[in-house]
Each structure stands twice: as structure tokens, then as C-alpha cells.
């Protein structure tokens, strides 16, 4: 039972915090999300120099052999700074698939490029009728000589605008919602038949809907075993959950701090807002929500490498906790800021936007409450 960070982790956290403090004040952030790309390529280069892009990968492929706790640390700091970047989609999510499922040859070809920043990926798993069911895949991959032809429609693919390649889940056998029969393919964004409608997301980040119209891929572009991708996809999204929940904890912490500071200084009726007991008790609720989320994120992160059931159960519990708390904390932060909380110029609303996005990503409260239910007995300490 050890809740501490080791020295390397603390140094690492300091370096991310320093980056955010020095290069990512809120005004700069707003300028960055208003650019065409929705992130700053020179920051990406900086991430590479600092080793952040190499973090989760094995040393043999240019990586740093980091753990999920390291990813948690970076994501929490990103959450505090409301950092917009393809880090989650490219390094945490797509990177995890390659690291776990790719062949030696594929890893050699891709991981070093991911680690040095020259390659960006993303993962297209959602479809308009799939909701949060990762096995609900209508996109098809039919064999075509030595390769495959992909047809289908993927929605809300994060930072597809900056990705060189996109990992696509496609059905190779079975019916629309069968877990068996889903495979993963690496598709070049510029390939013939790939068309993307790019757009900003509500939190200022970027996504795209991607249409695959008879897109040809080679046998080499199959990642992992044919028909057996569902388990990797579930695992990958649990890594995504732990990472986004850590990000949410960072975001909620800032909302808590800013709101506390505001009610300590803002005066109404000749007293600070913070001296009104009704508001005090509500701030305690906010604080408690943040604390409970932090704990669950630690647990979800540490359980990523345990059994499937333990991983799923803890990730789902964290996602539910963060989904509920994100709304509570976001709403209270706005409410206690009054009219100022509604303005675009204050960061408050933008944190709620990010928390709203996180609540949806990888499945919402209802979805994960149901998944938790199926695995609850596997929560153990």
C-alpha cells in the first residue's frame, strides 16, 4: 500500500507543470485552440525533446519504459493547463495498441517515429450507431488479394487532422455487435478513398468524421490477430479512461482552486462570498468530489496492468466517479462565480467544456455503471 510518487515521477511532474506554467497560460491556450491545427506543432516538438512522447514505450523502440502512473502524472498536469494536443489520441491510445498488438516488425517501423514526434496516429473506433459499444462495428474489411478493402464511416476521431495514419476497427467476420470478428488496420490518412470532415470539438480540440470508401490496405497494415482485436480495443480504451480521468482530476483541481480563491475575495452584502455557510458547505462537497476522484484515478491507473476484470471494474468505477464529479464541480464553479463564470474570457467554462467532453469519451456514466455492475466483484485491494 503505497500512494507516493518516486523521485523520478516527481521530477517528471515538475517538468510538465513547468511547461504548463511557462508556455500554457490561459490566453496562450485560447490562441492555440483557435489555430487551424488546434494545437501547436512546436509544442509537439518540445514534448518529443522532453521525452514525453516516448514515455509509455519500451526502451528497445526508442521509448522510456514508463508506467501508467507516469501517464497519469502527465495527464493530470495537462488537465490543469487545459492542454490541447494529440497526446492522448496518438501516444496514449494509438500508441498502446501498437505496443500491445503490433508485430516486432511493425513496432520497429512505428514506435521510434511515434517516440521522436515524427509520426502521429489516431484511433477511429466510434461509429454513428455504435454509441459506446466498442464491438458494435459496421465498418467492413473484406479480403482483397493479399490485402483488404475497407468500407464504412467512423465518427469523432480525435485529432485526425494532425494524424499521418489512423487505426481503424473494422469487421472481418461476424455480425454488427459480435466481439469476435473485429480487426484493426492502419490506414494512411492520405490513402485513396479516405475522406475526412474535420471540425473543432466543443472543448476547442479537433476531431473528424472519416469516410472509408473502398480503401485498400496491405496485409502488413493489419495490427494484431485478425478477428481478435476486441480485447485489445477494450484494454486500450481503459488506458484512455485512466488517462482522461487523470486529466479530469487536474481540471477539477483547478476549478476548485479558482472558485475557492474567488469566494474568498469576492464581496457581496459587505461580506466575502466564502463567509456564507450555504456556499461553504457546497464548496466542501466540491472538495470531497475532487478527493474521491483522485483516489479512484490512482486505483484505476494501478489496476491497468492487472486482470481484465479488475482493470475493467476499476476503470469503469473511475469513469463514473469522474463523470458525476465533473458535472458537479463544473456547475458549482460557474454558479459560484456568478455572471463572471459564464464569460468566455474566464477559464471556468472552458474547464466544464473539457470535462463534458471527457464524460462522453470512452463511454459515459450510464455505460460504465452497467459495465461496473458486471465486474464489481473483482474490485480488490
Amino acid at each position: 500500500m503505497d500512494f507516493s510518487f518516486d523521485e523520478a515521477q516527481q521530477l517528471f511532474r515538475d517538468s510538465v507543470d513547468r511547461f504548463v506554467a511557462e508556455h500554457y497560460d490561459f490566453e496562450t491556450r485560447q490562441r492555440i485552440v483557435a489555430t487551424d491545427d488546434g494545437y501547436l506543432p512546436e509544442h509537439w516538438q518540445r514534448f518529443a525533446e522532453l521525452g514525453w512522447l516516448a514515455l509509455p514505450f519500451p526502451e528497445g523502440y526508442g521509448g522510456l519504459d514508463g508506467t501508467p502512473v507516469d501517464t497519469m502524472i502527465i495527464m493530470e498536469s495537462f488537465g490543469r493547463g487545459l492542454v490541447a494536443s494529440p497526446y492522448l489520441s496518438s501516444v496514449v491510445v494509438a500508441g498502446h495498441i501498437l505496443n500491445r498488438a503490433a508485430t516486432e516488425q511493425q513496432k520497429q517501423a512505428l514506435l521510434p517515429a511515434l517516440s521522436d514526434g515524427s509520426l502521429r496516429l489516431t484511433f477511429a473506433f466510434a461509429e454513428p450507431t455504435s454509441r459506446f459499444d466498442l464491438a458494435d462495428v459496421s465498418t467492413t474489411a473484406t479480403e482483397d488479394g493479399a490485402g483488404y478493402r475497407l468500407n464504412g464511416y467512423k465518427c469523432v476521431v480525435h485529432y485526425a487532422n494532425t494524424a499521418h495514419k489512423v487505426l481503424v476497427s473494422a469487421r472481418t467476420t461476424g455480425n454488427q455487435r459480435d466481439p469476435m470478428g473485429v480487426s484493426l488496420f492502419l490506414v494512411d490518412m492520405g490513402a485513396s478513398g479516405v475522406s475526412a470532415r474535420h471540425y473543432p470539438t466543443i472543448d476547442g480540440q479537433r476531431a473528424a468524421d472519416i469516410k472509408l470508401d473502398n480503401v485498400r490496405v496491405d496485409a502488413d497494415d493489419l495490427i494484431g490477430d485478425k478477428d481478435h482485436a476486441s480485447a485489445f480495443i477494450e484494454e486500450t480504451c481503459d488506458h484512455g479512461i485512466a488517462a482522461t480521468c487523470a486529466e479530469a482530476v487536474g481540471a477539477m483541481s483547478v476549478l476548485y482552486e479558482m472558485t475557492l480563491e474567488y469566494i474568498k475575495t469576492r464581496e457581496q452584502f459587505g461580506k466575502t462570498l466564502g463567509s456564507f455557510q450555504a456556499l461553504q458547505h457546497r464548496m466542501v462537497d466540491v472538495f470531497m468530489a475532487c478527493e474521491l476522484c483522485r483516489s479512484m484515478v490512482y486505483a484505476a491507473t494501478c489496476r491497468l496492468t492487472e486482470s481484465t476484470a479488475e482493470r475493467q471494474c476499476t476503470a469503469s468505477a473511475a469513469k463514473v466517479q469522474v463523470g458525476k464529479a465533473g458535472r458537479l464541480v463544473g456547475h458549482e464553479a460557474i454558479q459560484l462565480h456568478g455572471g463572471m463564470g459564464m464569460t468566455d474570457e474566464l477559464p471556468i467554462g472552458h474547464y466544464l467544456k473539457r470535462l463534458t467532453m471527457i464524460n462522453t469519451m470512452f463511454g459515459d456514466i450510464a455505460y460504465h455503471t452497467a459495465r461496473f455492475r458486471r465486474t464489481a466483484n473483482y474490485f480488490s485491494l
Binding site: 466510434a126 454513428p128 450507431t129 454509441r131 459506446f132 459499444d133 458494435d136 465518427c155 469523432v156 454488427q176 455487435r177 470532415r197 471540425y199 473543432p200 470539438t201 466543443i202 476547442g204 476531431a207 468524421d209 469576492r266 457581496q268 452584502f269 450555504a278 456556499l279 458535472r327 456547475h331 460557474i334 454558479q335 456568478g338 455572471g339 463564470g341 459564464m342 464569460t343 468566455d344 474570457e345 474566464l346 471556468i348 467554462g349 472552458h350 466544464l352 467544456k353 463534458t356 467532453m357 462522453t360 459515459d364 456514466i365 450510464a366 455503471t369 452497467a370
Partner: protein, 398 residues
Amino acid sequence: MDIAFSKDVQAFRQEVRAFIRTHLPDDIKHRVERGEELDREGHMGWHRKLCQKGWTVPNWPTEYGGPGWSLAQQYVFHDELAFNCAPRLPWYGWDMIGPLLIEYGSDWQRQRFLPPIASGEEWWCQGFSEPNSGSDLASLQCKAVLDGEHYVVNGSKIWITAAHVSDWMFALVRTDSSGKKQQGITLLFIDMRSPGLSRRPIITFDGGHEIDQCYFQDVRVPIENRVGEEGKGWSYAKYLLSVERIGTADVARSGTMLRRLKTIVASERAQGKPLLEDPWFADQIALLEIELKALEVTELRYLFETEAGSDLGPEASILKIRGTEIQQRITELIVDALGYYACPDLRPALWQDANIPAVGPDYAMLASASYFNLRKLSIFSGSNEIQKNIVAKAVLGL
């Protein structure tokens, strides 16, 4: 006891419904339905039709151009506007300036200001809040000094809904600082084109521009634009807040939003089935609909409990609190129902000259923006905390 509208009122409801369905342009209806802001011109096309019918100032007596409706007819009229996705009547004119001038205005003021409200030629905004007065309204500092036949106004007003499309502002200003803070406040009508009045748009975090801050630098306001007596502004403000406001709870608009939510869950799919068959959503919607029904009956009870229609006192606070909570919750559920398609920010695709195709279903277009925007409901018009303070004091005696 009989909880139903009379046959006459029900017949009237059908008449209103038929009129709206015949005359409300489809594009206006569609834009209201999905929560888009209308510009003034879009608004006026419909308003002129209502005006020809004599229905733009439903609460005014006939002598001032009103239709002479009973309270029940007024209730049903607003109900039908909401039910059929017609725009609201322009803020502040019919509901506040009308009753105010009829009660406290001079003859000249009534003749000058009432007709353009009914016709829609002049729109109004409310200048109450100030940067440092927030929930403590009476602490306002915007100053007016009498100089001959004019008040000279200096200061600032903030959180002014629709200032940028308004012709007039009714503003509380301080004409005397010597007494208690509620004293020495005066109510003025200020021409929005006055020299020295400047405006700063306030963009809310949903990206919309509904509110403004106004700055007054030696703005001269003719003395005849003062309502009632100097120094009595606080009592007029209290009168405005107490005016029987049908629709404080906004039940009908919530009902329309809830209908929209039900359409969405019937259309969205989870596990291959319509989302409305998902017990989680079904229960959440049912629980919310029950809250809404209870609020609806409560609003009717407060309005019609006594025969003449009672003035809504602090009960209005209850309607406001619960009504805004429900509206906010509906927008949350709509966002939840949309899944990933709540995420694209499609506002650019709405710009008139934009030629950008949307993604996802049309009903998803503004769902997240509405959710963010309606967080304002529990803050503006007296925050829900202030409303609870009012109920605690005025009803509970605490």
C-alpha cells in the same frame, strides 16, 4: 376544485394554436426548436403577424392596445407559443415596461413608449446589475446628477441581455448616496443611441453573444424619461420583480425541450435498439417529466388559487428555482443522449454565409452549446441562491 381549463379557454387554445401553425414560418420554428438565437429581423417577421392580430401585449388592458385577455387566456397563449416553437415575445417591453408605465408612468410616457412596444418597433433592455453589485443589487453605483432638464449619467451596467439589439434601456441609477443603499435610486429610460453610451459585447463560454456591458460617460437623459419620483427607483424595481409573470417556471418551453429529448432518444441507438428502450434514459426522462408536471400544476395553483388570480409573491422564487433546474437538467440529458455527436462544435456551420456541411444528426447541432448556455439560468434574474434567501425570509420567516 377542478384542475382543467374551461371549455372556453380550451377553445381559445385551439384558436391560438391554429393561428401559430398557419402563420409561423417554418425556418423560424426550426431555429427556435434547436435553440438558435434569432436576430431582430428574423424575429420581426413573425412579430408583425402577431401584431396584426393584436397579440403582442397579452397582459395589457385594451385601452393600451392589449387584447383584454383573462389570466387563463394569457397563460394558454404563452403555453401555445412555447408548444409550437414560436419565439418568445421580445424581452422586457410587454412584460415589464407596459405594467410599469400603466401603474407609475406619466401620460406622456405611456403615449410615447407603449405603442412601439406593441408594434415591435422598439426593443428594451434592463440596466440593473453592475460590475461590483452582483447579487447585492441595491449596492449599485452608476450615478445620475440632475443638470437642468437632464440627468447626467456616469458609470457602467453589466450582464445586459440584448443591449446590442435594443433601442431603450430602463436603468436603475444612483441619484443620492447619503442614505441607506436602497434609498436614492432612480429609474430612468435611456436611449441606447445617446452620445456617451458605449457598449462592449460579452461573449459567453458557449460562444454566444447575448449580453453586453454598457458604459455611460456624461450621458444626458431628459428628465421626462424618469419614471415616477426621484429616489423611489428601488420600489419600482421591486414592483417589476413582483409583477405577475406568467411563465416564470417556463414549463411550456421545458415541455418542448423534453419532447425534443424524447425524439432524440427515439432516434439514437444503443446496442442496436432505440435509446428510449434503455432503462437508464427512460427512468431519467420519466423522473424529470414528473418534476416538470409537478411544477406545472404548482405554477397553475399559484396563479389561479384565488379567483382573481393572485399576485405571485415569493412563490415566484420557487417557480424560478425549480424551473431553471429542470431546464438545465434537460439540456444535460440531451447531451448525454447524443453520445459522441455531442462533441463536434458545429456553430461555424450555422453562420449564414458558411457553406460547411454539418456532421451528425441535425438535432445535435446546438445541443452542447445550449447545455453550456443555460447554465446562465440559475445565475441571471436573481441567482437561485438569492431566490432561496428570499423564500427563507419571506415565506419561512428565517
